[in-house]
């Protein structure tokens, strides 16, 4: 079993590629891998509680982890309580820790 770290930087409304990444992440979880999705830059926009297209829900329901960059949230005026349930704010240090632990890291 591997641990995958997916850094999602794209706005879900700007590109449907984000949906494809979410599908990939979900399939990795289904295959028994550990997956952490770290939303960053405009990637955090899709994590707002009111967002219609929250792509990462099914992956999270199956045990995947969804984090949102605190800095990107602050830049966009999104408070922690305004996030979709299951999304946790996190500092960039988490990315460094996960990289150091040997995660397979994908930037999107």
């Amino acid at each position: 079993m591997s641990h995958y770290l997916v850094l999602e930087s794209r706005d879900c409304l700007e590109s449907r590629d984000s949906k494809k990444m979410a599908t990939l992440a979900e399939e990795l979880v289904q295959a028994g891998h550990q997956v952490t999705v770290f939303l960053i830059q405009n990637g955090v926009l899709g994590a707002r509680s009111g967002a219609v297209d929250f792509f990462w829900g099914e992956m999270a329901d199956r045990g995947g982890e969804v984090l949102a960059d605190e800095f990107s949230l602050r830049e966009r005026g999104i408070p922690a309580q305004g996030l979709h349930p299951g999304v946790e704010p996190a500092s960039l240090d988490r990315v460094i820790d996960l990289m150091a632990s040997g995660c397979k890291v994908i930037w999107h």
Binding site: L7, S9, I40, Q41, N42, F71, S91, L92, D93, V95, I96, D97, M99, A100, G102, C103, V105, W107
Partner: protein, 137 residues
């Protein structure tokens, strides 16, 4: 302190184009603050990030002079990261793709930046506990 471990980052975006550059600088800083040695391989437009000839400018539209505008210069951010690494006794190796430098005429880089080839990225990856490629799109 993780001073025997190295992380590698590969960047492709030119300065002033995309938030990915800012994120890359944040990642490099976070890695250094956590005590990791850092390798950077700059490819394509990213070789202009440490270009010394970047100049701050005034903003006539908003009526601000050079000091008031306080225009950010990425080469100064690279210098700051170099200083941070030195203060912490860590290595920050920054290699600019030589062909990309020549194509763009950005051969005056801040101290500590050297020319190289994609072979350096391969070597960096071999030496590192992990490598993050941040593509341009």
């Amino acid at each position: 302190m993780n001073s025997n471990l190295t992380l590698t980052f590969s960047l492709m975006d030119p300065p002033y184009e995309n938030a990915r550059s800012t994120t890359a600088f944040r990642l490099i800083e976070a890695a250094l603050r956590k005590g990791f040695h850092v390798n950077v391989f700059a490819y394509e437009g990213a070789v202009a990030l440490p270009f010394l000839q970047q100049r701050a400018h005034a903003n006539a539209v908003h009526g601000r002079d050079v000091e008031q505008e306080e225009h950010p210069l990425p080469h100064q951010w690279v210098q700051s990261l170099m200083r941070l690494a030195e203060e912490k006794g860590l290595q920050l190796q920054w290699v600019n793709c030589g062909l990309c430098v020549d194509e763009r005429g950005v051969d005056q880089a801040v101290s500590g930046v050297r020319r190289g080839t994609p072979g350096d990225l391969w070597q960096f990856a071999q030496q590192s506990v992990n490598t993050l490629i941040i593509p341009a799109s």
